[in-house]
């Protein structure tokens, strides 16, 4: 028998604490695979956020730091400047990065810090019970928008990669989805380029991963992935927003 796919070594034995069908585990596996393939596991420092992935350091066996809510990019800046030889990744959700941590993220991007940001967007605050986030779609029902998100009262969903792609500091900005095997393979390609940007000392890189939240969307995992395909991806189209030379 020839092995085609095997769990990467950086994934630990400990079972994840996520709900059944939560794509966080897929994002963890992609990161762990790429760290193994690029031989960066020993050098990697992952800055974990506040949110469902707060216990991420139990599931990927690298060096890790736990940041205050939204401050992962600021913390990563300090780590990278103090230890330029380390490989610094931040792993953040949409409530963490796009809401409370938007200032840290934009300024880290504007400074062109040599860090890689993995931004997992599921359209609500998953851990605290599904409140409205900046990325919640118009009309989406959450616990704090019980009649659906209204543009006049709550504004429009925030598209972080498009915003950062207009700046000069970032060298690689992309959006991928975790809703099907095809898109998961594509997501791995995008994250590999984002890792290249830091491994070759080029600059700031961010990859948004469109994810689901079956529990708070009140759907089965399969229905939640269907909703990504039918409702979320038309608003948040996948693709590469900014690719500088030398990243690919």
């Amino acid at each position: 028998m020839k092995t085609l796919y095997k769990m990467p070594e950086a994934i630990t034995e400990r079972p994840t604490t996520y709900c059944p069908g939560c794509p966080h585990g897929v994002a963890h596996r992609i990161i762990a695979e790429l760290l193994g393939e690029m031989e960066l596991t020993k050098k990697a420092v992952i800055v974990w956020p506040v949110g469902c992935s707060v216990f991420g350091y139990y599931f990927i066996g690298t060096d890790a730091v736990e940041a205050a809510h939204g401050r992962a990019c600021a913390m990563a800046t300090g780590i990278k400047r103090a230890h330029p030889e380390s490989f610094v990744i931040t792993y953040q959700g949409d409530g963490d990065l796009a809401s409370i941590g938007i200032a840290e993220t934009i300024h880290a991007a504007a400074r062109g810090e040599r860090i890689t940001v993995i931004y997992v967007n599921n359209g609500n605050y998953g851990m605290t019970g599904g409140q409205m986030a900046p990325t919640t779609l118009l009309g989406q029902v959450t616990t704090t928008s019980p009649y659906g998100r209204d543009a006049r009262a709550n504004g429009f969903p925030m598209k972080v990669p498009e915003m950062l792609a207009t700046m000069d500091g970032p060298v690689y900005i992309a959006r991928a989805a975790l809703d099907s095997p095809k898109h998961i393979i594509q997501a791995k390609k995008f994250i590999r380029k984002a890792f290249n940007a830091q491994a070759r000392d080029l600059g700031f890189a961010l990859v948004e991963l469109i994810s689901s939240c079956p529990t708070n969307w009140k759907m089965t995992p399969v229905e939640a992935l269907e909703r990504i395909k039918n409702e979320v991806l038309p608003i948040f189209p996948i693709g590469e927003m900014k690719v500088n030379e030398g990243v690919a």
Binding site: M7, P20, P23, P221
Partner: protein, 75 residues
Amino acid sequence: MDKKVIINEERCKSCELCVDVCPKDVLRISERLNPKGYHPVELFDNEGCISCGFCFLICPDAAIVEVRRPVKVKK
């Protein structure tokens, strides 16, 4: 023949994503219970599996640990 898909039943949370993406429908949710109280997924038709790895790619809980393909023996 050896199993083409190796499943760690203790980690499975019975989310059925692998059953949904399997192009040959060779996976199903079993009747057994694992220590967490979920019904783990099982490969019931090893012959029909084409080792495409879709189940591995979509599995969020690292429950599908390995996908293998038989090596063709030249005669």
